[in-house]
Symmetry: none
DNA sequence: GCCTAACCGAGACGGTACGTCACGTCTTTTA
DNA sequence: TAAAAGACGTGACGTACCGTCTCGGTTAGGC
């Protein structure tokens, strides 16, 4: 279900002409095209989006109540699918998870773009909450699940706070991918982060384990 | 020196009526007052700022070339001073540094505000660069300096990448302070992060082995 | 036959579902109700008319090509029937004719309303022409007929221009009824106008001199 | 004084940049140009007027609160000056007055135009009242003054209602000039109307006067 | 004690975008 | 095929700001 659903009520079997899915796609595609073409977020007006998508303004407002709500869906449409985890070990799963974050930072339809959309959403608490709930939170939950399993399997110290542990892995990657777009994201970064952080989180294994 | 300096040139000993510093303060104070009063960033127009500060629009444009440039100075004015480091050990210095980040996240004149200004600036690359250079970068450099000294003194493994190490400390705090305003920032968090990260970064053999 | 008739052609015995006359009435009644309720002409949109009448927009457009054409029919529906003339004399007939104009000006379903519809139609030459042909012209023709008979019967000088004479009667009433809605339309006005104008139009020598 | 005067208050000696008279003229000229070029009143949007006059929309709204208020001033600007009266007799004055109405109907910058503006204004009672007060009423008053003088000088029966008498002259001209744009307005019409109406209004002069 | 240049407030100016509304057309389902 | 419902592209509405530009009036030197 999309945020774009603001139909007043669903009384009965859908009366009147149904909304065109093609139009919906055209709008989202239009926004992404503009962003890729180097149009800054501040220059992106509803009016311009409508012109680009060959669509009336009202058609946009019928689906989204404003620029920010639209951007949530743009982000969602641009998000790559969550990676499949190997499941061989906690360490390997974490590497894959962080690697997907790295790739997202590099090549998310066009790296610098989503970045700004991201930033824009932050200045609207309501929208940020929506994005948080529907995108960020599930992803974080995935990391926590990996750690829980790792703790159960003895790959992680049992006295560790999982929330904090998660941030120990995710934080360093985020500093670079989100906050510092000018910083390099070299191949192997995910592995180095996981292994470095893990060094302090692993159980004190019996020396001759 | 402030970004607000855009006097055309300095030919001779300043002719005509000099710019009023009181006016400058009134503008910055006005912006902060508005933000504290719950006015969202999007609602903050130059026109409104001028009205609030009892100032002509041209008087603002004479000092800053636009909203973003003004916000950089607002941020700067609201930044708490960098903390004094104890210097007793790398670990203690890091704790103090992270603790200052935590406090910034909690109580920076009014926590959620600067947050948004921060976010806003990110969508203007030019301004972000300015802020980066004059605020972020020096602070990061401070962290790296601590780590360099720690490496020299044997508190940190010598084979470690300092940039990465820095992110191992800063990242977890940033995840919470910047990206997740809803997450708790309890007392002692700085200490826990430093100690946990340090566990994997300390030299294997005790320095004074 | 109504202006509302825009069926493409009448091939054969009318195929498909026939148009509902009830719908037609509902629309015209709806417009009049709205006007009586103080809704100004400018506020009267097709969309609102459809909503009020509980009718689809297309249903209106199927009958009239636009707002003005619809208003012509509204006017026609609201016009009181032409008065029956006594036929006792030219003077009496003229009094009755002008009296009906006076009443129209006072109480035409709701005085000020039709006024505005009238004014509106004037800014659309095409529609004005239609209204002119089907409503105004026949009424004028009736006045001229009275005058012709009067001239034949010796109640009117034979050298008089009938068109001009007609305007001498109709004009003064119109100035008040149409152009000056704030001006009083007292009982007996028709009689006074006719007698005053007639004073200069009667033959000098008594007919049966 | 113009209707265009909607300055909030006149506190003190006029602060801020004064409104440009050139802009005011450009707008009024623009409207008249458009009307002359055959643009119908319904097609005349504020947006289009602004485009034509090379002016921002706000600049128009700063002076007039809407289309109708603007049209009042357009009408005023297009009104020819009131004619100078010969003063030789009531009859001659009336002829000149009606002749000026005839010419207004024929050649008022472009006959059919002002017509429509006139009609448009009628559907907005408030505006019609303003136009009535500032244009219509003074002109009517002029006619009444002529009649009063005529009555004093013995050119008019003393028992006649002046308001009604005025309508006897003005009405016939108005029927043609305002309500029936298709009707001819031949030279000499004013004279014929005055003389015909006067026939019934003159004092019963002593036969051998 | 002037002169002059820049500052200051106010607010007009040509623009662009806002979010809403109505236009007249179209595409559904139901009758 | 009509009818109600409502989506669609279009374009005007009246408002708010944008950044620039006059205005009248300060407020400092430098003369």
């Amino acid at each position: 279900m999309s945020l774009a659903d603001s139909r007043p009520q669903q009384r009965g079997p859908a009366r009147g002409r149904p909304r065109s899915e093609a139009v919906e796609r055209a709008i989202l595609e239009g926004v992404m095209k503009l962003l890729e073409d180097g149009v800054s977020l501040a220059e992106l007006s509803i009016e311009r989006i409508a012109r680009t998508a060959g669509v009336g303004k009202a058609t946009i407002y019928r689906r989204w109540s404003g620029k920010e709500e639209l951007f949530v869906d743009v982000m969602r449409a641009a998000e790559p699918p969550d990676p499949e985890l190997p499941g061989t070990s906690m360490r390997d799963d974490l590497v894959v998870l962080l690697e997907s974050m790295r790739l997202r930072g590099l090549a998310n339809r066009s790296s610098a773009i989503m970045h700004n959309v991201h930033a824009q959403m932050k200045s609207s608490p309501k929208i940020w909450a929506a994005y948080n709930t529907s995108v960020i939170r599930p992803r974080r939950e995935r990391g926590l699940e990996i750690l829980r399993r790792g703790q159960r399997d003895g790959e992680l110290r049992s006295d560790i706070d999982l929330e904090l542990a998660n941030d120990m892995f995710v934080g360093p990657m985020l500093v670079r991918a989100v906050l510092r777009p000018d910083m390099e994201l070299p191949e192997g970064l995910a592995e180095r982060i996981v292994d470095t952080a893990l060094a302090g989180l692993r159980p004190v294994s019996p020396p001759g384990g």
